[in-house]
């Protein structure tokens, strides 16, 4: 069942087109992550769902009805902002109760108390209910923000980089918690981020946005393995996908029209060209190159290799013996190369 959708929605701000004909359908209980750099139109897309912006063209539906012309209050959605969404003059309890106290919602005081306590329990902020929100840590504040969204059981949750202002450890904790809560509640979430790790781990489907257009929307695995174009390929994967000329790496048969070849670092096979005793071995397959740097991260090692003046990242095993300055031969795992035409689209 489709819970929310945009149909060729366009939004302009003066001369700039923030969202350009985006069509997007979100299934019930689905976690959709919109990924893209600053200015790609992620936040505007989210605000179109919320009704904080009205599209210049196109339609918005939520729970089966057309809400294009309705205000935010009539859409029954919840929005988690990057920051500033907690009211500094209220306590944690009052902040969590705020959406339920909206006139017209008519929730009894006893019910409000019960619901707020449930949510506080779920998000592990129950001991802080009486505190002022200004006395909370960053992680607690963001939990309360998410709690304010959860307290109401809306049709659709909209989250605008809710974790981006937190430090790495907290971000990881909250990310896991958010996924757990989403599964438990079966919530439908549209989530905006520029963090590929968040996108990969949270999303049922990732929507890649570029300059207001939806480039590709699919499961994280499909976007990673079969990106629609170079742009989408570059959004996922760290280090980024290697882009080389079709002839630069020995990649076997190159289809006609291919202007660039993309190879993920884990698909670059690197072997030393010389034996350890200085005597040449049987020459390994692949093009010759030299290792520029080796970065050891524990679970993985990433080498930067110079191949004919071009720098290529390669993922090595944790126990590699390759070191800086070593001459190597690089090849591509068979069938792993991605071919892009001159416009950047994948062949």
């Amino acid at each position: 069942m489709i819970k929310a959708s945009l149909t060729s929605a366009t939004k302009r701000f003066g001369e700039t087109v923030a969202v350009d004909g985006v069509s997007l359908e979100v299934e019930d209980g689905e976690f959709v992550v919109l990924l893209g750099p600053t200015g790609a139109g992620k936040t505007t897309t989210l605000r179109l769902f919320a009704g904080l912006e009205t599209p210049d063209k196109g339609r918005v539906t939520i729970a089966g009805s057309d809400v294009t012309r309705l205000g935010p209050a009539e859409r029954d959605v919840a929005f988690v902002f990057q920051q500033y969404s907690l009211y500094p003059h209220l306590t944690v309890f009052e902040n969590l109760a705020f959406p339920l106290k909206a006139p017209g919602r008519r929730v009894s005081a006893a019910q409000i108390r019960k619901r707020v306590e449930e949510i506080a329990e779920l998000l592990r902020i129950a001991p802080k209910l009486k505190n002022r929100v200004t006395a909370l840590s960053g992680g607690e504040m963001q939990r309360v923000s998410i709690g304010r969204a959860l307290v109401r059981e809306p049709n659709l949750f909209l989250m605008d980089e809710p974790l981006s202002s937190l430090d790495a450890k907290l971000r990881e904790d909250l990310r896991l918690e958010l996924k757990r809560i989403q599964r438990d509640l079966g919530a439908t979430i549209v989530y905006v981020t520029h963090d590929q790790l968040e996108a990969m781990t949270l999303a049922d489907r990732i929507g890649v946005l570029a300059e207001g257009r939806l480039v590709q929307i699919d499961t994280p695995r499909v976007v990673y393995e079969r990106p629609a174009n170079i742009y989408a390929a570059q959004r996922l994967g760290s280090p980024q996908i290697n882009l080389v000329a079709p002839t630069a790496l020995a990649v076997g048969e190159v289809p006609g029209g291919a202007a660039q070849v993309g190879v993920r670092p884990e698909d670059v096979v690197v072997a030393p060209r010389e034996g350890t005793n200085g005597v040449a071995n049987a020459p390994p397959k692949g093009v010759p190159g030299e290792i520029l740097t080796v970065e050891h991260f524990g679970v993985e090692t990433i080498a930067l290799i110079d191949i004919g003046g071009r720098q290529v990242h390669a993922l090595l095993g944790p126990r590699t013996t390759l070191t800086q300055g070593m001459p190597v031969a690089a090849s591509v795992r068979p069938g792993a190369a991605l071919y892009f035409d001159a416009t950047g689209a994948r062949l």
């Binding site: 904080l52 935010p72 209050a73 919840a78 902002f81 920051q83 500033y84 003059h89 959406p99």
Partner: protein, 315 residues
């Protein structure tokens, strides 16, 4: 280490001493006239004009009694015939061969000041808050020009337009009315109030209102529940500035009011006693006149301290 000597937080004992001396010196310069006024209020008329000035004197409430009463001189025989004085202030007056003949107009003038000062402050802040919110949040055509126009009303001394306003008020029947003075002070204060408050609204992120609107509140409810509470400091600071202006305003009060709506500032300096100005009564009136502003400022001083930085300190 020499680095410590230049650190921001710590002042050396000598620096602290110097700072202390400067603060005390400044306080003395500003406080002495005030202290003199308060003391003069408790002097007798001869003591108040004696030369050299008396620093130590026998305090009396004569100034305050004179401030609130009108009196007439009588012969000692007549006063004798009245029998013993019924109240302490009767007794005080009779020592100078006078009897109290009625209440002075001071209380009425004081009430006028309260009505006009607080009334215009309320109006200026109320209208200013709404205008500031609109200027900050809505697409107002010619917004910048309008803001400049509002500010331009303060680019000359208000008294420069005294004559046109005087003529206008006479035509409209607003001369010497409470309404007229409230409107005038509101108009003068409004530009200050709109500009100050707009700064405070600009400081409040829109996300707060957007969050409230998504949560099911109307725009107005979001304004009342979310924006107003966060504007408290700004509103308090603005209110104090407006009140101080309206409370102390002298020129227009002198020009436009004479009777029913006369405020205290033009009245206090012309309190006449025997043989000229009654200095203790003038000083007593001034002292009482200071009280509301001092109380108002002390009550709001916490907000004022936060507000007076005008958003210089981000959250």
């Amino acid at each position: 280490m020499s680095v410590a000597a230049y650190s921001v937080g710590e002042a050396s004992p000598r620096q602290k001493l110097l700072a202390g001396v400067l603060v005390v010196a400044y306080a003395l310069v500003t406080m002495i006239p005030l202290v003199w006024i308060v003391l003069t209020g408790f002097k007798s008329p001869p003591a108040s004009i004696s030369y050299p000035p008396q620093v130590l004197f026998e305090p009396t409430l004569e100034g305050y009694v004179n401030l609130f009463t009108t009196r007439s001189r009588q012969t000692p025989e007549y006063i004798e015939s009245l029998g013993p004085a019924e109240t302490w202030y009767d007794a005080l007056v009779r020592e100078r061969n006078m009897v109290i003949t009625g209440k002075s107009r001071f209380a009425g003038r004081y009430m006028n000041s309260v009505i006009i000062g607080f009334g215009s402050t309320f109006l200026a802040v109320f209208l200013g808050t709404l205008a500031a919110y609109a200027f900050s949040r809505f697409k107002v055509p010619l917004k910048d020009d309008l803001m400049f126009f509002i500010l331009s009303t303060r680019m000359m001394p208000p008294v420069a337009v005294a004559i046109p306003i005087y003529l206008m008020y006479r035509e409209l029947g607003l001369s010497d009315t409470h309404l007229g003075m409230i409107l005038l002070y509101t108009a003068v204060n409004l530009s200050l109030s709109v500009w100050l408050l707009k700064g405070f609204v600009d400081e409040i992120p829109r996300e707060y209102e957007e969050a409230a609107v998504v949560d099911g509140y109307t725009r107005f409810q979001a304004f009342v529940k979310v924006v107003l509470p966060q504007m408290r400091a700004g509103i308090a600071a603005t209110a104090i500035f407006c009140l101080i202006f309206a409370w102390n305003e002298y020129a227009f009060a002198l020009l436009l009011t004479s009777g029913t709506a006369q405020t205290a500032p033009p009245f206090i300096p012309i309190i006449i006693g025997e043989g000229g100005l009654d200095w203790p009564a003038v000083a007593a009136g001034t002292t009482l006149f200071l009280v509301p502003v001092v109380v108002f400022t002390v009550l709001l001083r916490k907000q004022l301290l936060r507000g007076i930085t005008f958003g210089a300190v981000r959250r």
